[in-house]
Structure formats: structure tokens, C-alpha cells
């Protein structure tokens, strides 16, 4: 009989493991740890883990290799990636290869915990999707429209005819946050960088959830409507609930690293 754990943390630094264990267990999660990807994979033979927090730069198999191993072994536990080498490439590649979130090191207890909370919520949504029947009246979440691009499951980008790009948050990301209480947005003329936070969404419990920007560019318009009416993001995340209009710095290259939403349609 396999043992059920909430979280598995994989990191080659003991102090990081200790910190993650401390934070998660204080919040009531059961947490196990592994010092590298090999040990983590061995642990899956004996145990089940709901969520994995994994470092990218590890001796032996790195974080991306670990993601591949998981999908080969048909282990569907979602992965939150962390790394001390927090580059745009790492962030974007993590989310492209299937991680649900990316937290650059060093992170605060809250940043980690909020990400784990979203992860747990994500698991619940995915589970409810499995039991979803067509005649159910309530829609669980609205997938990203065709011709949109998304960064992991958090943000989307849509090209406009004028060459500018609209960006916003996916419905699934909003659903993992629930109850938006406040928004902290960038301003006109500010630069956003792909894979870096471009907005901070606060929930009812004052937890801050960073929205990672899908593309880099200069903001030319901030959607004032979502500041006045925050529920707009929840009601119409893909159209009326957009965040920024950008002049992209290199959309041709950056869009290649995003997931094309047309392939989401099944």
C-alpha cells in the first residue's frame, strides 16, 4: 500500500529542503523530500505525492529531465519549479515543459506558500474535471480561446492587427486564486519581461499572487476597467478582462516559447 503525501520537495540544497518542509508542515501539509531527481523518482515507487516542488539545477537529472521522467512514468502530479538561476529562459521553459508554476529563488515563505495553495487548488480543479459530465450546469473553467498563446496556465497573450499585443490572466489561474480583492498593476511606459511578474493579484486573505508576463514589451495601455471593476477579470478573462496592451520587444521569438491555445481544443 502506497503512502499518500501532500508534497515532495526535490532540491540539492539541504537548507532549501528544510525551509520548504518547515513552511509547508506549519501549514498542515505532509511533506517528504528528496536530494536529487533519482531519489525522487524512486520515492514514487513507494509513495504518492499530490504536488512536487522541484529545483532546476541539480546534479544528475535536472529539473527539466525530471519533468520528462514524470510524464514518461505517467505521473500526473503537478510540479512547481524553483531555481537560483532565475532567468527568463528557465522560467518560460519550465512552464512550457509542463510545470504549473515557477518561483525564482530566493523566495519568501508567503511566495512559496501562495504558490502551493494555487497548486492545491489546481489539483482540485483538475480532479473535478475528471468527474465532469457534459450535462453539468456549471462550467469548471473556460479554456484559452484559439489563436491565443499562453504561458503555462497563468497568463495569455493575443496578437492584435496593429502589431501590439494584449495580455491577461487565464481563467484557470484566476480560479486557483479565487476572490480577488485588489490588483497591483504596472503603469504606462513601464517594461514587462517575459516570465517575470507583470501584475500582483491579491485575494481576500491578502495573499499576493504574481502574474507572470507571457511576453516582454513596453506597456502602452493599462485596462482601466479592471481596476474599477475587478470582477471583470473573473467574468471575462479573455476579452473584457485584459490587463495590458504592449508593444512587444521580440514577439516573434517569444511566442514560440508559449503554448498555442489552438491545440488546447479537444
Amino acid at each position: 500500500m502506497k503512502k499518500d503525501w501532500d508534497i515532495l520537495v526535490v532540491d540539492d540544497e539541504q537548507v532549501v529542503i528544510d525551509a520548504v518542509v518547515k513552511i509547508c508542515s506549519s501549514e498542515g501539509y505532509t511533506i517528504d523530500s528528496a536530494i536529487d531527481a533519482k531519489e525522487a523518482l524512486q520515492k514514487f515507487a513507494k509513495n504518492n505525492y499530490k504536488l512536487i516542488v522541484c529545483d532546476i539545477m541539480m546534479p544528475g537529472i535536472d529539473g527539466f529531465g525530471f519533468l520528462n521522467e514524470l510524464s514518461e512514468r505517467k505521473i500526473s502530479s503537478p510540479v512547481i519549479m524553483t531555481t537560483g538561476y532565475s532567468t527568463v529562459e528557465n522560467a518560460v521553459k519550465s512552464l512550457y515543459t509542463g510545470a504549473i508554476d515557477f518561483i525564482p529563488k530566493p523566495f519568501t515563505a508567503d511566495e512559496l506558500f501562495n504558490s502551493i495553495l494555487r497548486g492545491m487548488k489546481y489539483i482540485r480543479i483538475q480532479n473535478s474535471l475528471k468527474s465532469y459530465k457534459r450535462d453539468d450546469s456549471e462550467i469548471i473553467y473556460v479554456p484559452c480561446p484559439a489563436k491565443y498563446y499562453r504561458l503555462g496556465y497563468s497568463s495569455w497573450a493575443a496578437e492584435e492587427n496593429t502589431g501590439s499585443i494584449l495580455i491577461g490572466s487565464t481563467d484557470l489561474f484566476i480560479k486557483t486564486i479565487e476572490n480577488i480583492s485588489d490588483l497591483e498593476l504596472f503603469q504606462n511606459d513601464e517594461e514587462v519581461v517575459q516570465g517575470n511578474a507583470c501584475a500582483y493579484i491579491k485575494d481576500k486573505e491578502e495573499r499576493v499572487h504574481p502574474l507572470l508576463s507571457p511576453v516582454s514589451g513596453r506597456i502602452i495601455e493599462v485596462n482601466e476597467d479592471i481596476i474599477k471593476n475587478k470582477s471583470l477579470i473573473e467574468k471575462d478573462p479573455y476579452f473584457e478582462g485584459w490587463f495590458y496592451r504592449l508593444i512587444p520587444s521580440d514577439s516573434e521569438y517569444e511566442l514560440k516559447n508559449l503554448i498555442n491555445c489552438s491545440s488546447d481544443r479537444l
Binding site: 528544510d18 513552511i23 537560483g84 532567468t87 525564482p104 529563488k105 530566493p106 515563505a109
Partner: protein, 630 residues
């Protein structure tokens, strides 16, 4: 030097070529001139011989007529004493020599085919009359003997001859005999030979002189500069890109040298850039390594401290301390990230912040060091300053650096640092930085080599007092400082673009303050800027900027009571790698500060008095102010 090297030299090739041409020219010339000279001499000799022959004929005429053989012989012998005369002889119709200056041949018969007779006796019937030019002949007895000019003079039968009493000559006989005078051409030949010799000497001297002159000039004009160029190429080849060829004049090689210097300078700049980018790349790898290594322990600090912070909400004192740890760890996180960003040349992260908060945070970092050095820090921060858009981490770095510099200037003896903030309304005069100026044809006038106050100046070309030079204008609007090392004559002045020489003087305008000529420059997309050309006057006018009127600036002043900066160093302190700290400093501090302030469209000024102290004044535009001045 090997023979091959000598032969392959340009000078030798030139000398050989010119020498060959000289030989040909002189030979041809000499040949014709000597030939002409010889002909001339010969014809003179002919005339002489002819006259002589006529003289002999005439002088012997009487004695012949009277048949006084002794007298005739005497005359002939006497004339034959004349130098150069070889022989005088007379032969009769049969060819027998009747008279001769050489006694032993008298009575001999001359062969009619001999050269003396040939002229008349070639034809079947001997000629009675012989034209003048055919009477002479030149011949040599043997190859070593001198040439001989012979002239025959037929003695015609005359009335006096056949009418004479002796009746020796019948009336029908046309020619009675021939007077043959032979002149030795020894002297003439000697003259021609000496002419030839002179020509050869002349040719040799000419070739030698030409070779010498070619040698000297080739050496001076070609060899020396080429050697210098070769030397320079070798120097550059071995990596010495600082080698500068000294002025080689304005000929083609001089131009080559100039363009060579230009090339090495560009190369050296490119190498510095390459070196810089290489350094940046390795710095980037280093930064990545540091980021990774540092971020793991920082994760420990940040997670634990933020975790503790959450759990100690009730303990105020502990909570405050933990807040500092969390905040500073977050700052470390930003610094590490900025290391990565720096390696990736990322954009500054600007937010709306209160500058006082940034200063307070900077003070916390250096407070300890200041108190160790017995430095008292006096804060005079104006409350309710408007928020400004800036990268608080970068700006904090600026203040930390300035505070540390101030503390270093004070040293260990103790002193005071004053830091104050204020909100000012400033006219654009003396604040706005002209970052780009062009001539009407859009040639860039900015001069990166001559900097005024650490900023590239504006370079104009000036003609005045029959001199040509350059003038460098202060790029700060309203200061109108000139950097020029001779006095301008304002009445006789031309100011032009250094590239296209288009005049930059406003012809129909005069300075309203001092009536001096006025220049006008274009600032791309910001209209024209005008200014007075008099060195004493600082009138300037920039409509596009003046129209905006006074603007709000936040002024930050940091002054210390330290050792001060010598006047001659004040202009250098914002240059990269200028440092007074020797091994301790990297010299990047103030230039980086300048770059950060400039990125925020602000200005930084420094005033200093030796042994009294230094004041840095920063002006940052408020958000409603003009954002970009590019």
C-alpha cells in the same frame, strides 16, 4: 642586406629605370650632336682645304706659267710646312706626280683608280669638270693612322697656258693636271674624340646625379614613410594598437598614414569593445554562477525570516528586526537579480517611489560605517515630496556610493555629512542637457572626446583671425561655456559644421545682450537652439524647452566636510576608472552614478573646495516634468 633585397628596393628599380632612360637619351643626343659637330668641323676643314688649294693654285700659277719649277716647289714646300697639312702634290694628265711636298714620290705614276683620281676617272670618259663637293675625299691609310682629307683641284687649261711661249700645253687639252692637297684630320678626330669623351663623362655624371637625387628623394618621400608604415603594421600586427604614426605630411603616403592611424584607432576601439563585451560575457557567467550559489543560502535566510516574521506578529520589537532582515534579504535578492540583469543588459525597473524612503534605506546600510568613522550624518529631508518614477535599487546604490565616498573623504578624523532633499522649480536654464545637436544637414555635432562636466560637448569649426580651429560648447543649456584656446575676432568670424562646412551663424540675428554674432544648431525633434558666440556672454535661447516653462525637480544635496577635490580633477571624476582610492576602489563608482542619474533624465553636479568639503547636487525631474530629452 642581401643582394636580392637591394635589387627589390623601389629606389634601385627607379634608379635603374631612370638610368637606362638617361643613357638612351644622352646617347642619342650625343650621337647626333657629335655627328653634327663632326660634320661641321669637316665642312670647315673642307672649306679650309679648298681655300688652301685655291691659294696654292693661284700662288703657283705664275711660276708654273713661267715654268719655274724651283719656285713652284719652293712655294709648295713652304705651304706644306703649315701644321695639319700632310702632303701637297701636283700630277699631270698622265698621273705622274710632278710636284710633291714629299720628295720621294716625285715622278711616280698614280693609279687612276686611286682615291685621288676616283672622282673623275670612274666614268669611261674622264670628267673635265668636277663639282666642288665631289673634289674632297676622306680616307685612312690604315686603321690606326689618322684620317686624311684630300682635295683635288684640277688645273684647267687657260689661254695664258697654251698661248705661252713654251707651248707645253696644246690648246685642246682641257685639264692640264691636278693639284692634290691632303690635310691630316688628326686634330679634328681628336676634337671629336674629346667631344665623345665629354659626352660620356656628362652621361655618367648625369646618371650619378640623377641616381643620387632619386635615391635621396625616394628615401625621403617613399622609403622612410613606407618603413614607418611597415613598422606600424608590424606593431599593430603584434597587438600594439596604440601605435600612432607621426605626421607624414599631406601626400598620398601621409594620407595613408592618417587613414592607417584612423584604422588602428577604430580597431583599438573595437578591441576595447570586444574586450568589454568579452568581459561582460565572462562577468555574465560569473554572475550566473554567483546568482545560483548565492540564491540558495538566501532562500534559507528569506524563507526562515519571512516565516518567523509571520509568526511573531505579536512581538513588536522582534517583528521590526525581522522586517529589516526580510527587507534587506529581498534587497540582496534584487542585487543578485540585477547582477543577472546587468549581464543580460536588462532595463531598469522603475516604480513610483518617494525619494526620501530610498535615502533612508541607503542610510541604514551605511550608518554603521559612518559611526565607526566618527562621521555625523545630518538629515534634512523635505516631507511631502511628490513620488518619482525611478529604480529604487539603482538609486539606493547611488546614495550608498555617494555617502561612502563622503565618508572616505572625511577619513578617520571625523566630520559631518549633510543630506537634504528639496522640491525646486527650475527654469530649463542650466538644467536641461543637450544630448544631441546637428547642423542643418543633420551632421552630428556631438564630440565624445572633449567632455565638459562629464558630458560630450558640441564641436563647431571656426575661422577667425585667419586661423582655423574648433570651439567646444557646454552641452548644458544656459551655460554657453566655450572651450577654445585662442581669441576670436567677432567681426571676422565664420562658424561652420566640421563635416559639411555649412555656416551655423544666423546672419540676420545679433545677441540681444552684447550684439555679438549668434549661432543656431538643430536639436532633433526639439527645434533650434541659439547662442551667443562671444566668450564673455552666456546668452542662449531654446524655444522648444523654454516653452515648457519652469519645471519641478527634486533636489538631493549630499555635502561633506572632507578633504575636497582639487579643481583640476573636478572635470574628471565622472569618467570611468578615475579613482583616488588606489587599490581600494574600482573607479567605476561615480561614472556608474552618472549613468544611473542620466538614465533617470536627471543631472548631477559637483562643487568642491580643497580641505573644506564637497557637495554633490542631484536634480531629478518630477513625473509631470519632461520625461525624455533625447
Amino acid at each position: 642586406m642581401k643582394l636580392k633585397d637591394i635589387i627589390s628596393k623601389i629606389s634601385l628599380k627607379l634608379i635603374l629605370a631612370v638610368g637606362a632612360v638617361t643613357i638612351i637619351i644622352i646617347s642619342v643626343y650625343s650621337y647626333f650632336s657629335i655627328k653634327a659637330q663632326g660634320d661641321e668641323l669637316l665642312s670647315q676643314a673642307e672649306v679650309y682645304a679648298n681655300k688652301l688649294s685655291e691659294t696654292i693654285k693661284n700662288s703657283t700659277h705664275l711660276s708654273m706659267l713661267e715654268n719655274k719649277e724651283e719656285q713652284t716647289r719652293y712655294i709648295i714646300n713652304t705651304i706644306a710646312q703649315e701644321p695639319g697639312l700632310r702632303e701637297i702634290r701636283i700630277f699631270n694628265k698622265e698621273g705622274r706626280i710632278i710636284f710633291s711636298s714629299q720628295k720621294d714620290v716625285i715622278g711616280q705614276l698614280v693609279d687612276k683608280n686611286a682615291e685621288a683620281c676616283y672622282a673623275c676617272h670612274t666614268k669611261y670618259e674622264p670628267l673635265a669638270k668636277l663639282p666642288m663637293e665631289e673634289r674632297t675625299r676622306i680616307y685612312q691609310l690604315d686603321t690606326n693612322s689618322p684620317r686624311i682629307l684630300g682635295i683635288i683641284n684640277p688645273i684647267y687649261n687657260e689661254q695664258s697656258c697654251w698661248a705661252a711661249d713654251c707651248h707645253v700645253h696644246p690648246k685642246e687639252q682641257k685639264v692640264l693636271g691636278v693639284l692634290d692637297v691632303q690635310l691630316s684630320l688628326k686634330e679634328l678626330d681628336a676634337q671629336i674624340a674629346s667631344s665623345e669623351f665629354r659626352s660620356i663623362i656628362f652621361a655618367v655624371i648625369a646618371i650619378a646625379l640623377l641616381s643620387l637625387i632619386i635615391g635621396i628623394f625616394v628615401r625621403r618621400w617613399i622609403e622612410k614613410p613606407v618603413n614607418e608604415l611597415v613598422n606600424a603594421t608590424e606593431q599593430v600586427g603584434t597587438g600594439n594598437l596604440n601605435y600612432v604614426i607621426k605626421d607624414l605630411g599631406s601626400d598620398e603616403l601621409g594620407l595613408l598614414a592618417k587613414s592607417f592611424n584612423n584604422m588602428t584607432q577604430k580597431l583599438s576601439e573595437a578591441r576595447i569593445q570586444l574586450f568589454q563585451s568579452d568581459k561582460m560575457a565572462s562577468l555574465g557567467r560569473l554572475a550566473a554562477g554567483i546568482a545560483h550559489e548565492l540564491n540558495n543560502p538566501l532562500t534559507g535566510v528569506l524563507t526562515y525570516s519571512s516565516f518567523l516574521l509571520k509568526r511573531t506578529q505579536n512581538n513588536r520589537e522582534l517583528n521590526e528586526d525581522l522586517k529589516v532582515i526580510v527587507r534587506e534579504t529581498k534587497r540582496s535578492r534584487e542585487i543578485v537579480k540585477s547582477l543577472l540583469d546587468f549581464a543580460r543588459q536588462s532595463v531598469p525597473k522603475k516604480n513610483l517611489v518617494n525619494i526620501n524612503d530610498v535615502i533612508e534605506r541607503a542610510i541604514i546600510v551605511v550608518e554603521n560605517q559612518l559611526s565607526i568613522n566618527h562621521v555625523e550624518l545630518k538629515k534634512n529631508l523635505t516631507k511631502d515630496l511628490p513620488q518619482t518614477t525611478l529604480d529604487s535599487n539603482q538609486m539606493q546604490q547611488v546614495f550608498i556610493n555617494l555617502l561612502v565616498n563622503a565618508s572616505d573623504a572625511i577619513g578617520l578624523k571625523g566630520g559631518t555629512i549633510n543630506i537634504s532633499t528639496d522640491l525646486l522649480k527650475l527654469s530649463p536654464y542650466g538644467i536641461t542637457h543637450i544630448k544631441k545637436a546637428t547642423c542643418p544637414k543633420r551632421h552630428d555635432l556631438m564630440d565624445n572626446e572633449v567632455k565638459i562636466g562629464g558630458m560630450p560637448s558640441i564641436k563647431l569649426k571656426v575661422y577667425s583671425n585667419s586661423k582655423t580651429g574648433f570651439i567646444n560648447l557646454d552641452p548644458l543649456y544656459g551655460r554657453n561655456h566655450h572651450l577654445i584656446n585662442w581669441d576670436l575676432n567677432l567681426k571676422e568670424l565664420r562658424v561652420v559644421c566640421p563635416q559639411c562646412e555649412i555656416s551655423l551663424i544666423e546672419e540676420d540675428k545679433k545677441c540681444p545682450d552684447c550684439n555679438a554674432p549668434v549661432y543656431s544648431l538643430e536639436v532633433p525633434s526639439q527645434g533650434n537652439i541659439e547662442g551667443c558666440l562671444s566668450k564673455e556672454c552666456n546668452w542662449q535661447k531654446w524655444d522648444a524647452v523654454d516653452a515648457d516653462g519652469q519645471k519641478e525637480y527634486i533636489e538631493i544635496k549630499i555635502s561633506d566636510t572632507g578633504c575636497g577635490i582639487p579643481k583640476e580633477n573636478l572635470s574628471k571624476i565622472f569618467e570611468p576608472f578615475y579613482s583616488t582610492k588606489g587599490q581600494k576602489g574600482t573607479g567605476l563608482g561615480l561614472s556608474v552614478i552618472w549613468g544611473i542619474i542620466d538614465n533617470h533624465n536627471g543631472t548631477i553636479k559637483v562643487e568642491s573646495k580643497l580641505n573644506t568639503g564637497t557637495t554633490f547636487t542631484i536634480h531629478l525631474p518630477c513625473p509631470n516634468g519632461r520625461q525624455t530629452l533625447k
